[in-house]
Symmetry: D3
Subunit: 332 residues, 6 copies
Amino acid sequence: MEGSQRFGVRGDSPGHAGIGGTFAGRRLVLDAEGLEGVDVAVVGAPFDDGTSNRPGARFGPRAIRAADDGGHAGRPHLGTGLDPFAVFEVIDHGDCTVAPADLERSHEHLADVLRSVLAAGAVPLVLGGDHSLSLPTLRVLSERYGRDGYAVVHFDTHADTAAELYGVRISHGTPFRVAVEEGYLDGRRAVQIGLRGTWPGPDDFTWMREAGFRWHTMDEIEERGLHRVLDDAIAHVAGAAPRVYLTVDVDVLDPAFAPGTGTPEPGGLSTRELRGALRRVASELEICAADVVEVCPPFDVAGITALAAERIALDILTGMASRRASSSAGRR
Amino acid sequence: MEGSQRFGVRGDSPGHAGIGGTFAGRRLVLDAEGLEGVDVAVVGAPFDDGTSNRPGARFGPRAIRAADDGGHAGRPHLGTGLDPFAVFEVIDHGDCTVAPADLERSHEHLADVLRSVLAAGAVPLVLGGDHSLSLPTLRVLSERYGRDGYAVVHFDTHADTAAELYGVRISHGTPFRVAVEEGYLDGRRAVQIGLRGTWPGPDDFTWMREAGFRWHTMDEIEERGLHRVLDDAIAHVAGAAPRVYLTVDVDVLDPAFAPGTGTPEPGGLSTRELRGALRRVASELEICAADVVEVCPPFDVAGITALAAERIALDILTGMASRRASSSAGRR
Amino acid sequence: MEGSQRFGVRGDSPGHAGIGGTFAGRRLVLDAEGLEGVDVAVVGAPFDDGTSNRPGARFGPRAIRAADDGGHAGRPHLGTGLDPFAVFEVIDHGDCTVAPADLERSHEHLADVLRSVLAAGAVPLVLGGDHSLSLPTLRVLSERYGRDGYAVVHFDTHADTAAELYGVRISHGTPFRVAVEEGYLDGRRAVQIGLRGTWPGPDDFTWMREAGFRWHTMDEIEERGLHRVLDDAIAHVAGAAPRVYLTVDVDVLDPAFAPGTGTPEPGGLSTRELRGALRRVASELEICAADVVEVCPPFDVAGITALAAERIALDILTGMASRRASSSAGRR
Amino acid sequence: MEGSQRFGVRGDSPGHAGIGGTFAGRRLVLDAEGLEGVDVAVVGAPFDDGTSNRPGARFGPRAIRAADDGGHAGRPHLGTGLDPFAVFEVIDHGDCTVAPADLERSHEHLADVLRSVLAAGAVPLVLGGDHSLSLPTLRVLSERYGRDGYAVVHFDTHADTAAELYGVRISHGTPFRVAVEEGYLDGRRAVQIGLRGTWPGPDDFTWMREAGFRWHTMDEIEERGLHRVLDDAIAHVAGAAPRVYLTVDVDVLDPAFAPGTGTPEPGGLSTRELRGALRRVASELEICAADVVEVCPPFDVAGITALAAERIALDILTGMASRRASSSAGRR
Amino acid sequence: MEGSQRFGVRGDSPGHAGIGGTFAGRRLVLDAEGLEGVDVAVVGAPFDDGTSNRPGARFGPRAIRAADDGGHAGRPHLGTGLDPFAVFEVIDHGDCTVAPADLERSHEHLADVLRSVLAAGAVPLVLGGDHSLSLPTLRVLSERYGRDGYAVVHFDTHADTAAELYGVRISHGTPFRVAVEEGYLDGRRAVQIGLRGTWPGPDDFTWMREAGFRWHTMDEIEERGLHRVLDDAIAHVAGAAPRVYLTVDVDVLDPAFAPGTGTPEPGGLSTRELRGALRRVASELEICAADVVEVCPPFDVAGITALAAERIALDILTGMASRRASSSAGRR
Amino acid sequence: MEGSQRFGVRGDSPGHAGIGGTFAGRRLVLDAEGLEGVDVAVVGAPFDDGTSNRPGARFGPRAIRAADDGGHAGRPHLGTGLDPFAVFEVIDHGDCTVAPADLERSHEHLADVLRSVLAAGAVPLVLGGDHSLSLPTLRVLSERYGRDGYAVVHFDTHADTAAELYGVRISHGTPFRVAVEEGYLDGRRAVQIGLRGTWPGPDDFTWMREAGFRWHTMDEIEERGLHRVLDDAIAHVAGAAPRVYLTVDVDVLDPAFAPGTGTPEPGGLSTRELRGALRRVASELEICAADVVEVCPPFDVAGITALAAERIALDILTGMASRRASSSAGRR
């Protein structure tokens, strides 16, 4: 199929026409067979049953897709002219099945979809949904690449390494802890960027230290500068594993830039900083899976958080494309 | 055809899953050839360039479709058990092409779609968009049935019979005037229900009187009761032509029930009244075309106006189905 | 001046053009001398320092004026064709001076304006602002007509007859109590319509009973019907004094119809009921002063409360006009 | 304790002062021992993990309590002067423990609280939370009174009798089905009022019919009048059991009156109708448990839904008080 | 001229009093004759018929004027003490006539007003309205100064140089392309600042390059710093023509700072950066016309976008005043 | 007392459970006797009668407390691990009594509470409410420490040193002027940070200069950098008095970060800058009183302003704790 795919649209109509559009107008491919030759498969995970505070991230995937306002086929980055869709075959793989009020079943459904994406050799780019989705993602990555075959770069306000949240083990506040304890992830291969606030408490940080996690707080970013911090984070991860799962909780942004999220925390990154950082990370590391999570439309204003998330996803693709482009160039 | 059609959905997932859904989950049919055997074709008209006050009805068709929260195939009316989708083949025919900033071109595009729907023997059910869309609709109806071959039942706050609005001829305030003056419509076959406010002025009512229009104000409804007024309206129209174009401006509802519209006017119908009235009208008259217009999502709250519009469209279908069901029964 | 007066507007432009408009496009007359020959003077009272709960009614007068969407000169009631501006000379007399954080000074300013309106023989139609404005209004009316020269018809959820509110004497919860105790008003000439909720308490109702107030609750309206209640209210007041101050707290409407107010109470009138009731009251009684108060735009949605208030003010004028018209007819 | 109980408040301050207030300022009693002599215990159930569409009802209990704007001790119904707090000892029993992302555990916690309330001889008045809370409520009622010892009066848009929702058994769409199938409830003792829309489907209604449920649709209410319908419903239930569980889903109101709910459906009751109906039901039947559920603040506007819910809870208490008052009078 | 000019205001009242105010309280002058001696004439352009995505900029001019909260006469910049109204005679020239649904007619009306402003030797400062208004502005500037007599400094996310948008030639996405092709503008005299996102596509940038446009992306600003970029932009333009048209699309701001616009794009300037940049540009270049466009109030939150736009307009005036002040100083 | 104190909560429930919580879950202590041994007493001042523009700050204290989303006892700063509640005994002292519509009485009530806090040797941390609360604060501080015994560090957009506002002396625009003129404050001991906009006018700045005030505008911060400016401000104040009143008007933040305030001004600090600045100020100076004012929830979006204010208050405590911790360390 050729470029833009919005449903129920005729002719050359603007983005608000039609029943709805795929991610950035990419071809919709639901069947596993259709994944052959695909480089990146966008997958929605419209559940939020793991949320402890403001729910609503179940509406995230559709809002992120709807934030695309373009009618043309490409998405060339203005600064570089690089169009990820000219470099990669990116398709929209639809949403995983969800079972409201049964988080574990939704996790299973997502895991199934991710398995078939990875089996096809494609990179899944997941649109959340709450951050508990990292747990099935990590499980599937460890199945495919081995626990030590991948590293994690994690942009977030919160470490999400609690042992439990209000007595609940599977939650959006625990995926990286559970994944380590279940043997899906080695903490020494994980780096977190943007932490701030007062959660989790000292015990959890002690556990993280012992588990080998590295993290960079907003205080450190403020003091040393974002790019110095990225230097360290990228160097650490590059040495830890041949490929990287890049997970972005939209609440790493300051609430001014991303009000539509479940657990905002003032004092975060600007979209300008984050977009640049993600293009850099994705161009300097080999991304094997990525996601943008915790977009919560009921608390959004003027759609700016969903819009930021869509652009963030494009930035990850643009970074990946520039890596591919330069490596192709290098090969020549 | 297997019932629900939402895009990018897997398994038995709730309404918020996937990229977006067709009207009430009906099959999407974009090509004219696919219209064979179709009874009703839902068509979106996502333009609002004819709006004089609050714009935004361009986002109406998608919001109306998204208001559907069901995952099952049927939409049986709870009171009667009658499911219009068991009686009729209803499909979603997508949106007409739109050209932002060029209203006449959008009108042409809509007219083209309507022509092919009527040619296939199906009833178009248009989701607006601003009320200027009645102008191409009336033109196409007169082409197909002759000026005297159809009547109009028009629920609205405003008569929309101004000669011009701020000097502009083609606007959402003028379609029924222009249609008469262009020979598409005979005012003696039109009845308006729900008028209130102070617009248009006495000259326009004088013109309407001379052109043969009938109208029933909210004052009359308040005094005589809605069903007495409907008795008169239905009787008038039933005698005027063999078929009826039913056009519903959502602002006929009180702003409490439909805040998301461009030119609200306090003192209107409740949704309970309107829903019952439309089921009645559609069951007692032969509908050849229908629409629900002026849903303006940027001014909506909690999506209640779009929801009302979706239910209104279902009520029209339910009324039509009960007419068909009883006429089938009668024939037996 | 000829009809519409909006500032900074050129040509035949819609309501959103220009710097802002007067009430229903009436001529702006700020000086007392300009009041000669004026029948009704609209006056804004943009203060809310008397509010005990949600503040914001200070933005009411401008929002009410801005709710007018028309560009033409007249405002003919659609049901009757009667245009109050063809019957009366109605002007916009601007806002009284206000002193934020000094309620008594704002009251003095309003009283000054009302005195000069009454001195010119005109009827003031005040746009609030919080209901404490009834206190200066009652004072000025008693100065002009004597305590026993006028009656009060009061549409409201709340009796506003508390002896004090949180220890404060001059407040939006006390004007009718203070006015009686200061000798501006005789409770036997006051009737209240629409009361509901649980405020004020039994002591205040005991005081009201002793002071001679009459009131009709929503329960009574629900049981007997609105028009029966109006029969009684109008008959009582008609016998009590030759002229009537009609004061309408927009919270007499159900919150569905008027969310934008400071102390909403579920279970109120619909706009359809209230608009008809006010046209009736104003056509059957001789109005010497009127107001619409407690429109609180920061809590409004889609502007529907301000819109309702503007239409309510027009309904009062329409009722007055129909009284004048029929009395003129009678004289002939 | 003497009347109003808000925390962190000094002196005679308005409702917005302090840290927060109990339901209608009632005494807070958390321990089971404190329930001695209590007639009604208000209990919050701040979870929404059973929600299939718009989540957010977890914020309902606090919003309902915060909707109380009064500073005085009593809540005398204005129409009758009857103050439920003068008749009954009503206390606020706080919220049950909740475990986000673990609905069954939250259900257990609620059941524990309800057991101790019933054991103390008090009537629980639960503030929801999603409607799945009826499942633990029905279980506990059957434990205490036997399956046949109580009946149900259920105001709702939706029957909530699905066998499962998107494959999930414990959900806000299934409690009355599961309760029958688990033996907590006999459908022949349940009556539903206000049903409308297109959910659930014919199979579920067939099941309901066979299980003995009765229901009254909005269509029936529109046709026969609300009070005729209540006559039938009350008569049926009065003959079925000596006591009644009254459960009110706020979505029985039209979305105009209750936009802040998870699954709104146009065409419902007005608050005026519902408030009167509940006072009647609670005065004519012996209430042994009651709740108001599905208030979803993130979708509310100007707080009108939470306000309606608080008033609804007061109306239930007022109805119960008038029953008690007249039975006391009768005894004398 | 006595300072503040708000209509319907008495005494020393705050900004919310009265019917509405002119831009920063300046004198309203509608007639061309009144322009004698005027330095800057503020003109509203309340149309948005050229919008392809979110409409509503028609409400921009009034919202921008209403954002002024001051009651005093001057607007001295706090940093420098410089008051543009002490340096320049600035008046509010009202809005141009607008014809909803007829963009070209509105363009003609705006062109007429601009011609008479320029003829009077004044600088027009236009408040939009959608960015299509640059087309009549460029036409009128070329009439007055010749195509080569002026340059353009353009702050925007989007280049607005598409050949057409959805098949439409006159649109908010095309003014600078059409102006070049119609001979009103020489691309070699235009510089754009703040571009980002993925629109327009490579072909349009190729055309721009050939037409001589220069542009500075947000990526460049991030890398080199805003002031270095301004050095280059100012130097280029200063050498290109003796005077400059400064056009500011408010979407050059990040959506966090300007959510109320039609086509937001994350990653933009902060208000702090933009305000300083505009003061600098206007003080270092000779401004012959300026505008602030694309303020879309229906999507604004808490009025912050309109407020930013008003301050931006004041910053342009402050920059111009400091240029005048220093050149006067120089002359002495 | 054991950590978290929320009312009506059972077990380990999330922040949305229960009736409401104290500031950061601190123990509620209303009586003066309970202040013994307390280091910091949080006091709410829920009045806004001193507001000249957008009212609503009366709802600030509750919203700030409700912004706390944690369930655990401590609030360790993530960067440093320092938990102010481990260093200090911080309690919530509830709200002062407020008298709506009587600002001076509310001021007296606040003064009484502050006197008893200071008498107990505790530091008051006031949550506003409008900025007029600085007047009673300054009066009480001068009573306790003498006019020359304390200095002021004031973060704000506005100098709040007007002689009167619209003729009113006691207002949120005048506290620092009135305090100097009444002898509570010596201007030479006050420094203001973040000023911008065009208010107040040159006369007020002249007065400030003569009174000895220092101030740092946003222009200066932009030019020199925030930390250089803080160097100067801290040095000046450190030399002026042994202790400091730190007052933070939330409008010093850019409206993007704090839309929910009464008089926003574009071009302010980010939360990241302000949070760091306050931690620094509070760790380098001896704080004897502090407040965060002008949080106006009716204009907030997604609660981000209240959230910012709560974090700001925690930052002040964290700064104070780090000072105490290092001085304890020093002593050892």
